[in-house]
């Protein structure tokens, strides 16, 4: 028996829409088996993972709070992936954005600084993220160094730099030696949308980003250029598109969005700078981008879904003592299935059973 791929004459639009759903279905089946192996009741585990977080207001708000950075980062990454360049260092750009914005919060801490502080912090975060993402982009364009490896290496560097700052110069003197900055002042904090809740302004910003990306990709020449450079580099060259400039642009935009997400996370839900501000948002956003089919609306839905796995994972740990790593396994398996199902858009799978006659004739 042999599996053979046949190229479809035209890409299948039906499957393009259905494939993420098939992937999620297959992932849930696989996870049920894994839960059973871990000795947990699969039905109740899945309930804790996917249903319980949707049943109370606090969890629903938390869902949006977790989806906010995922969606913002994934939108940026989708631009890179559409242009066929691989920024996988969004986690580092997220951290650098958080650090740069926090600088202003630390410097103005306890002063009479006015309401300009937060907008300036957001701007700093975005600019720093963009500049940090431009390092691998420039290395790629100017020297031909693999952007995959350089962008990933810079994640470790950013992580160590943040660690140094909160253990060294920026440590809160009144923080009992914990590696954290002082709690940000109210003017340096992202305002809440609901008094006493968790939902903050970042959610609105994420929605605006989704809208802007949809316009960019669907309605502008730049968006068209990005797609052509990724899908048909030769055609792009003949069309006179400057692919190097597009690499720089997509990296800068994705870095800016990751950096913005970073500072929003720090100035919003976290409230101060500390190590471990991200449970791997930058990497999970890669999955969000693919699950959302590199489409802004798709990414919005995918971001909410993966945020659900974070919250479900935490609740499953508390309620059923399921290790947190199960969430990462879940996310990895999901990405595998998404990619495998995407193959169906371009190819038809066919199983071939060699008939006895042919095989004996060949032998």
């Amino acid at each position: 028996m042999q599996l053979v791929l046949e190229k479809r004459v035209e890409r299948s639009n039906t499957i393009a829409l259905v494939s993420p759903l098939i992937a999620i279905g297959l992932t849930i089946v696989t996870m049920s088996i894994l839960f059973a192996i871990l000795g947990k009741n699969p039905i109740s585990a899945l309930g804790v993972y996917f249903i319980d977080p949707l049943t109370d207001s606090y969890s629903l708000q938390e869902l949006v709070v977790k989806a906010t950075p995922l969606v913002m980062i994934a939108i940026g990454l989708s631009l890179c992936y559409l242009a066929n360049v691989w920024n996988i260092g969004a986690e580092g750009q997220f951290l650098v954005g958080a650090v740069a914005g926090s600088w202003l919060a630390v410097k103005t801490h306890g002063t009479e600084a006015g309401h300009w502080v937060l907008p300036a912090m957001l701007l700093l975060g975005a600019v720093a993220g963009a500049l940090y993402a431009l390092i691998p982009a420039i290395c790629k364009v100017r020297f031909g160094a693999s952007e995959i490896l350089t962008s990933l290496m810079l994640v470790y560097v950013a992580d160590l730099f943040l660690d140094y700052l909160v253990r060294g110069p920026w440590r809160d003197p009144a923080g009992f030696n914990f590696p954290t900055t002082a709690e940000f002042d109210p003017v340096a904090t992202v305002p809440l949308l609901i008094e006493g809740g968790r939902l903050h302004l970042g959610a609105i910003i994420a929605l605006l980003v989704v809208g802007a990306a949809a316009v960019l990709l669907g309605r502008t020449i730049k968006g068209f250029e990005i797609r052509v450079v990724g899908a048909a580099p030769r055609a792009a060259r003949f069309g006179g598109f400057n692919s190097n400039q597009l690499i720089l642009l997509t990296f800068a935009v994705s870095g800016a969005l990751a950096g913005l997400a970073g500072i929003i996370e720090v100035a919003g839900p976290v409230g101060h700078l500390q190590p471990g501000i991200s449970p791997g948002y930058g990497f999970t956003a890669i999955i969000v981008a693919f699950l959302g089919r590199l489409n802004p609306i798709g990414i919005l839905i995918a971001g909410l879904f993966l945020a659900l796995t974070f919250i479900g994972g935490e609740q499953a740990q508390i309620a059923m003592k399921i290790p947190l790593d199960v969430t990462k396994v879940f996310q990895g398996i999901l990405l595998f299935y998404v990619l495998a199902c995407d193959s169906l858009i371009l190819y038809r799978f066919r199983l071939i059973f060699p008939s006895r006659k042919v095989s004996s004739g060949a032998a």
């Binding site: 791929l5 031909g144 490896l149 160590l160 790593d325 799978f349």
Partner: protein, 305 residues
Amino acid sequence: MGLLEAIILAVLAASTPLLIAATGELVTERAGVLNLGVEGMMIVGAACGFGGAWLTGSTIIGALCGIAAGTLLSLIFAMMTLGLAVNQVATGLALTILGIGLSGLIGAGFVGEKIGTAPHLYIPGLTDIPLVGRILFGEDAFVYLSLALVISVWLFLYRTRAGLVLRACGDNHISAHALGYPVLRIRMFAVMFGGACAGLAGAYLPLAYTPFFIPGMTAGRGWIALALVVFSSWRPGRLVIGAYLFGAVTILQLHAQGAGFGIPSQFMSALPYLATVIVLVLISRARTGGSTAPAALGTVFVPDR
């Protein structure tokens, strides 16, 4: 034991996992497949290697568990990229994410446990030679194995017909296919070899480097191994130099931290990662005449039967 001797021993130990993982990936890439999941396969190899050794008390069984784990993961990768023609970069990332999760799950039961490290070679007389004795004749088995591995890979790639065919698949899969070679099957074996090496390299960490398992203990070594393959221009000989250079950077920064020059430790810890970026830039820049990468590296091949 002198300081210099201690440093050289430490450099060899730090370089060995890089060398093993990079050798495997070199073969994979020479066949035209870019497997970015080295980090994932390594970390699962580390968890399974420790588990195997802890349960049985045998280093060899631990190493075999690591190899088996790496190979199994690489088979998933092969199924996806070769069987289903999925993008190799994305699949490799998926493998790394999955591997990090799996290793945490597998290793959860072993955190905090300790095992004896792999025994070191001891030849009476030879090992006792001052200065060079310990370095040449007193290493653990993995160090010798890694060098034997590189030499065998070199011999295989450049001195055997099978190696030539493998390189042909990596440079032009359409021609190789037209000549009647089973491109996908050859690539599958190359991917499995890469997985086995990554698993072994991961297992080396808890078996010989530090006698315990901690989540995330590979700390980016899989990615550095990938960078080393680029550094080596896909040649086994240069791989050895590269791996030992990187091992040296790792150990020197550790010693510098210990000596305490007043430089924050985080900056020293960042050195190997920064060095990787700089080396990648320099090496890519030097190659303005044209790339030395296998021509079909990372491209999807679907035979038209």
